[in-house]
């Protein structure tokens, strides 16, 4: 159980407050919210309805039902933009503190290095959650403004009510947040290797990009299920009736494995290194 009284005034609360008071964080969240907005405006202005199957999935449905703006925008944001923002936040975790020198003052405050790593990981994950929900909520809002809103036809052909559709949207946002947590752990590890945050950010984004490129090479099909991005676009299962949680579970397992591996590496590195910055 989360002890609210203990949380209040803790390092975790401080971490979130510092993260969400940074202008950079808000700039990234604003940019993320622009994705569904631009998408919806583009569809509205073009006027013509796309034949099914053209453009990104669900795009053809947007003009008939605004509820689909969020889904479509999510599919557009997953390969590049969301990993980019995760790279910035996760790459900055330790390297950013080391770069400003505040790391040494946190450690002598004192914060144990293990606790700091956990807090930093949870903080970056909270950003991922904020990012996916920002995108989804903006999507619904702009969809409701520009397009008719109504019961949603699922991929299986069934029609569900708006409240039921909101539950699916919520699940998709959670799914994408979990998808990004493995990358967050990688970013955290890279961040313990350097005192130059930009380097850690770039390296994290490179990992995400390379992984996705490997995922497109059929010759490497053997390793595909182990790639961090393997299930990234797999949330379609959540849009069927009855709801299928298979890919949700597999994705969560895969991400947990990445968190365990890169969390341990980050721990091994960070708890033994000299803080000389």
């Amino acid at each position: 159980m989360l002890n609210v009284k203990k949380f209040k005034g803790s390092l975790m609360q401080s971490e979130l407050s510092v993260l969400f008071r940074r202008r950079r964080t808000w700039a990234m969240l604003t940019t993320i919210s622009m994705i569904p907005i631009f998408l919806a405006i583009a569809v509205k202005l073009s006027g013509s309805t796309l034949p099914p199957g053209e453009g990104p999935p669900f795009l053809d449905r947007v003009s008939q039902n605004g509820m689909f703006v969020g889904f479509t925008a999510m599919i557009l944001a997953i390969p590049l933009f969301l990993p980019l923002t995760i790279g910035v936040v996760a790459g900055d975790t330790i390297a950013g503190e080391a770069n400003t020198g505040t790391l040494r003052y946190l450690l002598v405050a004192p914060v144990s290095r293990t606790r700091l790593l956990i807090v930093k990981f949870l903080g970056a994950s909270a950003f991922a959650l904020a990012a996916t929900f920002t995108l989804m909520i903006t999507g619904i809002a702009i969809g409701a403004i520009l397009f008719p809103i109504g019961p949603v036809t699922l991929l299986s052909g069934d029609v569900i009510s708006i409240p039921a559709a909101l539950v699916r949207i919520f699940l998709v946002a959670i799914y994408v947040t979990i998808s990004l947590m493995g990358l967050t752990a990688i970013g955290l590890f890279i961040s313990t290797l350097t005192v130059i945050p930009v380097g850690a950010m770039a390296a994290t984004v490179v990992v995400s990009t390379v992984t996705q490129i490997l995922g497109t090479l059929p010759q490497l099909a053997v390793i595909h299920p182990y790639l961090i991005s393997y299930y990234w676009l797999g949330f379609a299962d959540l849009l069927r009736n009855p709801i299928s949680l298979g890919s949700f579970a597999s994705n969560t397992l895969l991400q947990l494995a990445y968190i365990a591996i890169f969390g341990s590496l980050a721990y091994g590195r960070f708890t033994t290194k000299d803080v000389l910055s």
Partner: protein, 316 residues
Amino acid sequence: MAQEVDPQYAIFTSGLTKSFGSHNAVDALDLRVPRGSIFGFLGPNGSGKTTTIRMLLGLANISSGEVSLLGSAIPDEIGIALPKVGALVEGPAFYPYLSGRDNLIRFDAADRHAPPQTRSARVDAALARVGLTQAAGKKVHAYSLGMKQRLGIANALLQPRELLVLDEPTNGLDPQGTREVRNLIRSLAVEGITIFISSHLLVEIEQICTHLAVMSQGKIVAQGSVEELSAGEELNLTLLTSDTELAVQGLKTYGINGVIDGKSVRALIPAGAHKPEDILKSLVDTGVGVKGFTLLAPTLEERFVLLTGEGFDVER
């Protein structure tokens, strides 16, 4: 700890060493910082002072040797010692996009032992103590170096401490600010807090220190109370003569190194070995035309320069 630690010491190290490859940045340090002292940790830039402080505070790994900080073994019991220690390490560092006050709140929240109920009051008291109440709401990127330095000291004072470790606390301060910091340190020492203060400028801290250690190239070359260190028996010799080369040779027969300085020769005469009057007589006998012969007990600073060698930064 293998060695029994005398509880009268706030910091006690034996054989403390930090090596980077084959180079020992800190070499077998035996620091003895008595509780309640104002301990000046002196040495030129690059002599290993900050590396030592990093090891004391658990920021850097110890290559070999042992450290006891307020009776706790470092690094194993660091969680017990650190809440009782306030530190300013290698200059102040803050989140530039947060206000001075919010920075202190952040660091205080990081300490599990700091009661959140009193946080706001303690932060305000620390800000008031260093005279930053007016600037508390300003973002730190708008602070001058002196203000950051004072905020760093405020950060060390967020809670009642037993030991303050201040690394070059007067860096970047104007003479007025330096005086204020000295007064602050004096008032803290009156409260019984042990203060460990490093500096490369003896003149900045010699007036307030009760104890000193002098570092040079990773080693302690002198350590003790200020009285002990001032009571050395060496004498500074200044010899006025035009026969400087001859005088240096003459001194060499006594095993004394003379340094030519224009029309004079300077040398340090160790205690007990030879009477200065005998040396003078033998110099005159060998044909050195002596115009003046002055003996002075060296000041602490001269001793310090002699201990740490040439090239020492003696800017005032």
